[in-house]
């Protein structure tokens, strides 16, 4: 069953569909939260995310765009949590588009190992693109930036990740 069909059944008010939707997306959302915060806070924030999803589902304009909508909510929850904790806005700032020819293959295990050393904006884009396998357009929608900025941020993030991994002793 596609996500769109599941979301439509949820909007009808079918409880089974709501629980199926949570079962399907709980782990990907939690993984994103765990990379952006930490494991302990991810459990807590994931409940807030799902409460917001259940409340917002009747207002979701395009059920086919459920995935970016879901991660936009998760991203907002991360920002709110960081803002609460640090008393200042934690949303990553937009960066100018920069061309970069780096297209090195990024191994998943190495990626996870190096993520913790990256700034929030770069960590987020790597999590969404590589770990959640979201297309560039969805990443752009979630982060609220143009696709071009996503590409340049990905390039910069890969470069930073490579430097971080080299410092930790990984061989290219």
């Amino acid at each position: 069953m596609t996500d769109e069909l599941l979301v439509l059944r949820c909007r009808l008010g079918e409880r089974d569909a709501l629980t199926e939707l949570i079962r399907r997306w709980h782990t990907p959302v939690w993984r994103y939260l765990a990379r952006m915060l930490d494991i302990g806070r991810a459990d807590d924030v994931s409940q807030e995310v799902w409460l917001e999803v259940i409340r917002g589902l009747p207002r979701l304009k395009d059920p086919a765009r459920f995935t970016p909508w879901l991660f936009t909510i998760a991203r907002r929850a991360v920002t709110n949590r960081l803002r609460q904790e640090y008393g200042q806005a934690a949303a990553p700032a937009d960066e100018p588009i920069a061309e970069d020819a780096t297209d090195a293959y990024v191994d998943r295990a190495e990626l996870i190992a190096g993520l913790s050393g990256l700034p929030a904006a770069e960590r987020e884009i790597l999590v969404l693109f590589y770990l959640e396998d979201l297309p560039l357009t969805d990443c752009a929608e979630i982060c609220g930036i143009p696709v071009g900025t996503v590409k340049s941020r990905l390039n910069r993030a890969r470069r930073m990740l490579r430097d971080t991994l080299l410092r930790k002793g990984f061989q290219p």
């Binding site: 949570i22 993984r31 765990a34 009747p58």
Partner: protein, 161 residues
Amino acid sequence: MNDDPRLSADELIRRLRGTLSPWRRLRGAVALVAGLTGAAFIGLLWATEPGPLPGRLHLAFGMFTVVCLTWAGYGAWAVTRGAPLYAMDRVIAAWLALTASTATTALLTVIALRRDSGLTATLTVGIAFIAASAASLVRAHTRRTALLRRIRELQTRDDQD
């Protein structure tokens, strides 16, 4: 980092069961309908009471009216800001509103006729409430029908693939 959440999906669903409950979603609509119905009923009794009333009775009518309006206010808040109303919930809520407004209008009309007072106001307000409830029922059914049609389309496409 471990890729599996410590909080399982089933545990999360258990924690969210209150929000997932249809009754939880509908209780705001029930409070709104009951509050408005009660306030209209007590208001008409108060307004059409024959003869001068003692001060304590005025106070009692006023307090009952305030209690009913408070429930209506809570219901309005819950419907607009609290638990979401899904398509089937909206249909049920609209039927509740239509039934309550029709029954209340009929009852209040009988009281107004017997007391020979307030008939025009009762009918005007009652018919306005019935019309609003009927309109929301039509809108809720239309929305639900559109959702069901789209679900059938997607299921047919899935079956063909």
